[in-house]
Amino acid sequence: MNFTLSKEHQLAQNLFREFADKEVAPLAHEIDETERFPVETVEKMKKLGFLGIPYKKEYGGQGCDDLTYVLMMEQLGRVCGSTAIIASVHTSLCCGALNNAGTEEQKQKYLRPLCDGTWLGAFGLTEPSAGTDAAGQCTRAVLDGDEYVLNGSKIFITNSGWADVYVIFAMTDKSQGSRGISAFIVPANTPGFSVGKPELKMGIRASTACELIFENVRIPKENLLGKEGKGFGIAMKALDGGRIGIAAQALGLAQGALDNVIAYVKERKQFGKPLSKLQNTQFTLADMETRVQAARLLVYSAAVAYDQGQPISVKAAQAKLFASETASYVTNRAVQLMGGYGYMREYPVERMMRDAKITEIYEGTSEVMRMVISGQLLK
């Protein structure tokens, strides 16, 4: 057992840290305040191959691994939750589904431009009446000659409006329940497809979460991803991978808040001494740090398991459950330690606290994670 990152992973971590500090952190406050999608950062990440890290070079990817991707997510999350989720949904969910279920032709046509920095991707599963209960899909796809015709809508879709291609789930056979769901590749410029108004969110405010509307959207049947009726499995598998990415984002948010609060308590003086000299501060920091380290071990080990081809549903659920709740705990304590300043938008910890909350909710709530974990125990 070896808990040290390999030299290549360490160097990649340095790269992501530098990129996060120099390119991402300076924008984080502004894009949160103005709810602006950081298109310039996304372009930089495309150019540097950051949006195809775990995928093979023959598909335009970087030929690295999931651990490398997780290291990037952690560093992005450390300075900007919004930027992290943009990369995560693209990489884990959109590219992940294509990589897992796509034909060679589909991979060359869609995965390659997504990985090599030409396109941005998104993933449409959630509907107004199908959140955690994903099987309650109302969007329908009907085969008409050589084309599927999609009708319905999706909500809370990350990268909506900015993505070039969407992986969309729709019912091809309502009577089969979750076994009637199929996955489709929908280019953004397909007639009948439109993006609704942006939702106003508590956190990750620079990422988009719009409604997607499908009005007789006709796509060639070659764009069916996997077999008809296999969409639910494709979605669940992509989400398993995605949860490790979200866990890493949460880990980064926690680390970012911890870094900020450590710097603050060393400087801030009350009662004639720095806050760092108070035992309450010291003990709280110790608890924060310990949880962050525990989260890091769970996240990295889930990524390594993924790279080794082990079953990861439970490991991913554990990593996401613990890391997201750690992010909420640590950011909340960080605000508390900083008192009134922590609550001010001038300091980043209040943003991190808002951003942390969503990690307990999206790509499977903490409750779903507990179902997955206990389901394994009790089967």
């Binding site: 030299k7 290549e8 160097l11 790269l15 970087q62 690295c64």
Partner: protein
Amino acid sequence: MNIVVCIKQVPDTTEVKLDPKTGTLIREGVPSIINPDDKAGLEAALRLKDQYGAKVTVVSMGPPQADAALKEAVAMGADQAILLSDRAFGGSDTWATSTVIASALKKLDYDLIITGRQAIDGDTAQVGPQIAEHLGIPNISYAEDIKLEGDHIIVKRKYEDRYHIIKCKLPCLITALSELNVPRYMTPGRIFDAYRNEELATKVWGVNDVPVDTTVIGLKGSPTNVFKSFTKAPKAAGNVYKPDTAEEAAQIIVDKLQEKFIL
């Protein structure tokens, strides 16, 4: 075209702190980086490669750990890495260092050699011009812009208050300023290649691989030695004055400036 870029791994001196009790340097935990001027030189070489096509070889002299700097250079886009590492090279001053590096470069094909102006740990700015001298080729220091024109290079050479636009026939050596450019980031895939692709593995050359007179290298062969090193003595406590008039205050300041030769 073959471009050789000489780089040095240095401690990030902005992170170096002094132990307030002992007055010694705290080196522990100080990250090692590619010297900034050298990194700009590498970026300049990679841009020439992008524009005109070239093979870029990075060369570094240092302990085995200096390979990390070479790996980073390869991850930025260099094609080949050579590490000059041997106990016999240890303790070399600039004269001896440039002698070792020049001897190694004689084994390589080069049209253009780029070094950084100076390293942030030593700040000497000597090794580049000295390599050129040992190789008998022209050097152009302090380059802020580099263009290629046929078999000539055109360099914007910086002085304190002017530039010389200099044209020079290849081969020659250029020393680059960090102002030359903003170096590119590595890419994740190239990082993996640097460590995992056998063809990109660093070649390590010791004293037996480099045709050099061993009496003029290393600590013993170096013309200069460190006589002693010390930290600046803490300054004596200053004086605080409460002059009655602004005139008096100004006089105190100006007197001090004269005393310290600032005026």
